[in-house]
Symmetry: C2
Subunit: 196 residues, 2 copies
Amino acid sequence: MAADQEHVSRVEKRRRTEAAISDAARTQFAEVGFERTTIRSVASAAGVDPALVMQYFGSKDGLFAAVARQQKPHRRLLDATREGTPQAALDDLFEDLEDPVSRDALLALMRNCLTHEQAATVLRDDVMRHVHEAVASRIATPDAELRAALLGATLVGLSIGRYMLRIPGLAEASREDVERLLLPVLALLVEPAPQA
Amino acid sequence: MAADQEHVSRVEKRRRTEAAISDAARTQFAEVGFERTTIRSVASAAGVDPALVMQYFGSKDGLFAAVARQQKPHRRLLDATREGTPQAALDDLFEDLEDPVSRDALLALMRNCLTHEQAATVLRDDVMRHVHEAVASRIATPDAELRAALLGATLVGLSIGRYMLRIPGLAEASREDVERLLLPVLALLVEPAPQA
DNA sequence: GTCTATATCTTGATAGAC
DNA sequence: GTCTATCAAGATATAGAC
């Protein structure tokens, strides 16, 4: 039926417009941060009118919240054993950071977590909570919480250093080299009693 | 001589006014970031007129550059042996972070390094270069650069997680506990061949 | 030397034409 | 539903009075 088809295509068109806006916003929030991303610049990149962005997302904060929600779940880390935790953590992180969409969704959080409370809250209480629970639950020592937090902080430092600050020596290193050096380091954090 | 005395006290007064502005700017850049720090808010906190801030520092970027220059040198790290490098790095970092002045000078860099190119440049090419050179020069393997960069990234992750993101478990932990868990981790990064 | 007043720009958000 | 036009707020920076 023509009317039905037109209805579907209208909904579909709206969905695509929303996606175009969301895509442009994700990229800009990730690359230049929340403050320097403007409704106008997002609309321009998405090829729509600035007023449409407000219509769909309500406010700039609403737009950011929509991007912040697009995090990829860290499945390997949640299912790993204690011994497998370091490899699972790096696999999840690299998978995130090597796909442009999930990478920008994560970078949008990291880029703004020091200057935007909303980003800090989602990163700390949502994304990092996964790491924290997965690690802490597998260690039976009183300092399990600290170990988990240090592992999370190390991964944050790796992401920021490699992909954002672009520290010389780390930004150009291969994933294999990074894993080779970092796996034993993370293993030390999840192994409470490494007897000889 | 009265004229001389008046001259000295005028210079001294100017110096104190500059210091008051710089102190207020350092605190605000560290706590709320570059964008949300305004010339007006700095002047208000320092008890001076906003135009005076422009007069002394030229621009908001000039004011930030003055704060960014106030970094404390990391003497222990530069003088340490390879074995002493992890302890020296943590000693320098904690000494920095436990004194309000040097802490805010460093946090002003870290808080803004993801959204302000000037902050990123100073942090990467000035502050972290110390760590990099100290570590890389003491390791004789081809991956020395990467090891040094990973050590720097870990310290950045620690600082951000503990003092800025305030990750639960890490923010409240004692310095002793953090050192106990992190020293062997950093040692692993500077020890290329840990044979049994 | 210090400060008042303001020029100039940019932003998020809104109102209303079509 | 979409866009033009505009508002109100807040910023840096400057010009000139005192």
